[in-house]
């Protein structure tokens, strides 16, 4: 449907924009920057911070440019006296209820309020300090997320994130007037509510009201203890995000530099979660084929569609919201936890280490992994399998602390063992990646041929649509897979829990006809994870995803079952997918949780 063009003037410059465009976006087209706080490209329009007000000729009231559509003949000033003084007032008001301990603040240097306050030279303490002592008590009940109400500016970006993108609703606005704040059901601590620990609220918080729980000091202590052997694993999405926190533009692949930096930091062994991503494909692929066999041949009642289990935010979402579908979740642990279990068993044996003297650290694009490593189920090695989880942002901070000139580092390779990977593993970092990797392997196992997609790129699984569907017809199968002959394998992919909810409602209602569903809790998959560099936007996530697929294209091996270390571990240690050892170390179970 074509839209009408609307003619208007901004700061005396004429411009024509499509009907329905906001004043803010129209001004952008003319390269006039209007400051914003409550506005975010991923979220609905709130219009509540009032920083973006502009003057419209002939109107008594200023207009919130983010929330006001253009109309014919409008004459707008983005920087009149009225606008400037109001905007400055708004910033001063926000600062008066904000605990502005900037030099000591975790977000110092990456805070939208600080930036605005600097731009507008707000420094004369016009207003009285309104920060309450009780708001300075930070909620650190969650192992993933810290909530500091004294830093909150009530823009409600977190509330909209939790509601619109994630359909979780753990955060909400409570009370009114001077007591209005962002809180949880009955003001309970974050670890006692439906929060999935996904951290998307952190990614969109303009200040330090929501931050990750950081474990940097704990990791430094481990590194600096000569008695302890510290292994570190890095998730696929970290290598396409880390650069953003170290001065590079979004979309840079920094795998080799990241490995070099980790070695500089003093980790004893720098290994790759991608290895266990490949392993996940072997285990999960086999699990899917087993479930299909039970359903199609043995006539057994098995839970289908099977659903991926790599994303701990998604897992906790299911435990809270769809406990009826827990059976559908693959029993495979996430790659992080598979890695943890193997590090303190297989790796320790091979290296002659006592797992008691090991600390296992993982670098994740994710805050939910901090919660996951703490789960009681995740101690199959006899120890806590993964001791500390750092986000991409925390790693960047350590690199800065160590004084490493990241951009000048020479690429280095992962250590061995548990360092080898394929292109199928790296695409785990983008939505649809697990599905694509699984199909590359499963199709080949069943038919003996490569998947029928050019250059192994399964394009229907890629891209940023909220829910993607694909079907693959399986023909000319190998004899032992004859029950799959002619079967049309239906798969679906969702990223962002609000999209997952759409699929889950369909599955619960029995109207979905899928065999396999991939869900990632975060928009865009792990590349948009709650531990990735701030800011985030659809454009930034697109660039990170492009980088992930380019990383895949540059790998020699691009199918999980071809990973030589994976083949080796089955020969030496695990023996077979879904075997006894796998069951003990690589698989887990889930528990139903209440909504409140």
């Amino acid at each position: 449907m074509s839209k009408y063009l609307v003619n208007l003037k901004i700061n005396n410059i004429p411009v024509s924009v499509e009907e329905g465009t906001t004043i803010l976006d129209a001004a952008k087209q003319l390269n006039f920057k209007i400051p914003t706080l409550c506005n975010h490209p991923d979220l609905s329009i709130a219009g509540n911070c009032r920083v973006c007000v502009v003057e419209v000729k002939g109107q008594r009231l200023l207009a919130a440019s983010c929330a006001t559509p253009v109309s014919e003949g409008m004459e707008i000033s983005t920087n009149s006296e009225k606008v400037r003084s109001s905007r400055k007032h708004v910033i001063e008001l926000l600062l008066s209820e904000h605990n502005a301990d900037c030099t000591k603040c975790y977000k110092n240097g990456n805070c939208e309020l600080q930036e605005l306050s600097n731009e507008y030279r707000v420094g004369d303490h016009l207003f009285l300090d309104l920060v309450r002592a009780k708001d300075k008590i930070v909620d650190i009940s969650s192992p993933s997320i810290a909530k500091d109400d004294s830093k909150c500016i009530r823009c409600q970006r977190c509330v909209r994130t939790c509601d619109e993108l994630q359909a979780v609703g753990a955060l909400a606005v409570v009370h009114k007037g001077d007591h209005q704040k962002i809180s949880t059901f009955l003001n309970k601590p974050l670890n006692e509510v439906v929060c999935t620990n996904c951290g998307q609220c952190i990614n969109r918080c303009p200040t330090a009201a929501l931050t990750e729980r950081n474990y940097i000091e704990e990791v430094w202590n481990a590194i600096n203890n000569p008695e302890i052997h510290v292994v570190v694993q890095t998730a696929p999405a970290v290598r396409v995000g880390l650069g953003e926190d170290l001065g590079l533009e979004p979309g840079h692949r920094v795998t080799g530099k990241m490995v070099a930096a980790l070695k500089h930091l003093g980790f004893d062994s720098v290994l790759d979660t991608d290895f266990t991503a490949d392993l996940t494909i072997m285990e999960e692929g086999t699990e899917l084929l087993t479930r299909l066999k039970k359903a199609l041949v043995d006539g057994e009642k098995v839970a289908l569609p099977m659903m991926t289990s790599c994303s701990p935010g998604w897992i906790k979402f299911q435990e809270h919201i769809y406990p009826n579908l827990l059976e559908n979740l693959s029993t495979c642990k996430s790659p992080q936890q598979m890695f943890g279990a193997l590090a303190k068993t297989y790796y320790a044996q091979k290296k002659g280490l006592n797992p008691k003297n090991m600390i296992s650290v993982s670098i994740m694009p994710c805050t939910a992994k901090k919660f996951e490593c703490d789960r009681p189920e995740m101690r199959s090695s006899g120890f806590q399998d993964v001791d500390y989880v750092l986000t991409t942002r925390e790693l960047a901070r350590m690199i800065k602390q160590a004084g490493i000139d990241f951009e000048k580092l020479h690429d280095e390779n992962y250590d061995s063992i548990l360092g080898e990977s394929t292109g199928a593993a790296v695409i785990f970092g983008a939505t649809g990646g697990v599905m694509e990797a699984a199909l590359r392997t499963a199709y080949e196992i069943v038919t003996g041929r490569e998947v029928p997609f050019t250059n192994l790129n399964i394009l229907p699984a890629r891209g940023m649509q909220g829910v993607k569907e694909a079907s693959v017809r399986i023909n000319n199968v190998l004899p032992q897979w004859s029950f799959l002959e002619g079967v049309e394998l239906n798969v679906a992919i969702a990223h962002g829990l609000a999209n997952a909810k759409v699929l889950m409602d369909a599955v619960s209602a029995g109207t979905a006809n899928y065999h396999f569903i991939e869900v990632m809790a975060c928009p865009g998959g792990c590349i948009g994870g709650g531990g990735q560099p701030i800011p985030t936007s659809p454009e930034i996530r697109k660039k990170r995803a492009d980088a992930i697929y380019s990383e895949d294209e540059h790998m020699t091996l691009r199918k999980s079952h071809e990973n030589p270390e994976v083949q080796q571990i089955y020969k030496d240690f695990l023996h077979e997918p879904l075997g006894h050892k796998s069951h003990d170390l690589l698989h887990t179970h889930y528990k139903a949780r209440k909504r409140y």
């Binding site: 009032r50 708004v90 009530r154």
Partner: protein
């Protein structure tokens, strides 16, 4: 200026006889456009205080293309010092429902909602009884219009029309961005006419006596009469229907106790008029408009305390959504306290007035925008009382 004198009127509460909903039979013989023209012609402006021409609102809503439209009656009477809607709903609810039904016919709505403030819950049984009677008539004459009651929970902000819709939809009562206005997207995002209780009752009056008769009352800008909730230092507190356009001096002569030093016109969010301005102040849209609240203060009252009370009220009743209102109200309140205690110089009041000015143009809704009215008028006229 048209010279009006204080004149007591009896239209709203008058003529409540046993002939039920007779006015509907008469009015529904007209076309929707004729009804709207009648209301337009009467010059009726919204009786909630903002004073938007009622007929125009109806016309805009009628012109919207939509299968579903709504009529909503705002009975969230929350403005401090206003208590006339309660009286109307207690004594003449039939007039309100008639007005709503007439509106429904005019704009093409099948459903009307009465949004009743939580504190008026005790009215529900009698209102439901009246709704039953209305629906009998509705059925008998095939009007096809149904009326429902929705209860508020006591938040002042839910009297703001878009926050009221949010509340009706089961959400937190926070004002929406405008545009779109209710005439385009109101309750359930459908075109909606939302009017005050008294507005609907007045529509019934106009349809009964005719616009020609009605507009003989009042002035060019302020047609007709309206109810005033008179309170404070007055020997005759209560509800009085008066012709619009009278000078405030005459009002004070009638209702004051002989020692009146100020009248707060239009409730906490209205203007404070000091004695020296009584003569030149007209009560009406050409002067100081009011939703009906007239608070009379005599010389025993501290205007600092009055302003302090108002600011405490706004600080608590702001929805908290937008910065100018949420934080601005707190700063105005703490600011005058600081000046009173000598912690800030008297000149800080100028800073606060500038802040109030920002709130007036930058706040999201009428609540934050109108705090400047009492603030500036009290500071300007009673500066000494604030400082010392």
């Amino acid at each position: 200026m048209e010279n009006k004198t204080l004149k007591k009127i009896d239209l709203i509460f008058a003529g409540y006889t046993s002939t039920k909903y007779k006015v509907l039979e008469k009015t529904f013989q007209k076309t929707p456009d004729e009804i709207i023209n009648e209301v337009l012609d009467s010059g009726l402006k919204g009786r909630g205080g903002a004073g938007f021409p009622t007929g125009l609102k109806w016309k805009f809503t009628k012109n919207q293309e939509s299968d579903v439209k709504y009529v909503v009656c705002n009975a969230d009477e929350g403005e401090p010092g206003t208590f006339k809607d309660r009286e109307i709903l207690e004594r003449v609810p039939r007039k309100v429902f008639s007005g709503m039904a007439i509106c429904g016919r005019a704009i093409g709505a099948k459903e009307g909602y009465l949004y009743l403030r939580g504190e008026y819950t005790y009215l529900v049984p009698s209102l439901l009884k009246e709704i039953e009677i209305f629906e009998e008539y509705s059925k008998q004459y095939n009007y096809g219009f149904k009326i429902f009651i929705r209860l508020g929970s006591g938040a002042y902000i839910c009297g703001e029309e878009s926050a009221l819709f949010e509340s009706m939809e089961g959400k937190r009562g926070e004002p929406r961005n405008k545009p779109p206005y209710p005439t385009v997207s109101g309750y359930n995002s459908k075109p909606t006419v939302i009017n005050n209780v008294e507005t609907f009752a007045t529509v019934q009056v106009i349809c009964k006596i005719g616009a020609q008769e009605y507009k003989k009352l009042g002035t060019t800008d302020s047609r007709g009469s309206k109810l005033f909730s008179v309170s404070g230092d007055t020997p005759i507190a209560g509800i009085h229907e008066l012709e619009l356009g009278m000078p405030l001096q005459e009002f004070v002569d009638e209702f004051g106790d002989g020692d009146t030093k100020a009248v707060q016109v239009g409730g906490a969010s209205g203007h404070c008029v000091p004695r020296k301005q009584f003569n030149q102040t007209v009560i009406g849209f050409e002067g100081i408009p009011t939703g009906g609240s007239m608070m009379v203060f005599n010389s025993s009252r501290s205007m600092y305390n009055v302003l302090h009370d108002y600011l405490e009220f706004f600080t608590e009743e702001s929805c908290g959504q937008c910065t100018p209102c949420r934080v601005g109200c707190q700063q105005l309140l703490k600011g005058i306290e600081a000046v009173k205690r000598g912690e800030r110089p008297p000149s800080y009041l100028e800073d606060l007035k500038r802040l109030a000015q920002t709130m007036k143009i930058a706040a999201k809704c009428g609540l934050g925008q109108s705090v400047a009215n009492p603030f500036n008028s009290i500071i300007d006229n009673f500066r000494e009382e604030i400082i010392y």
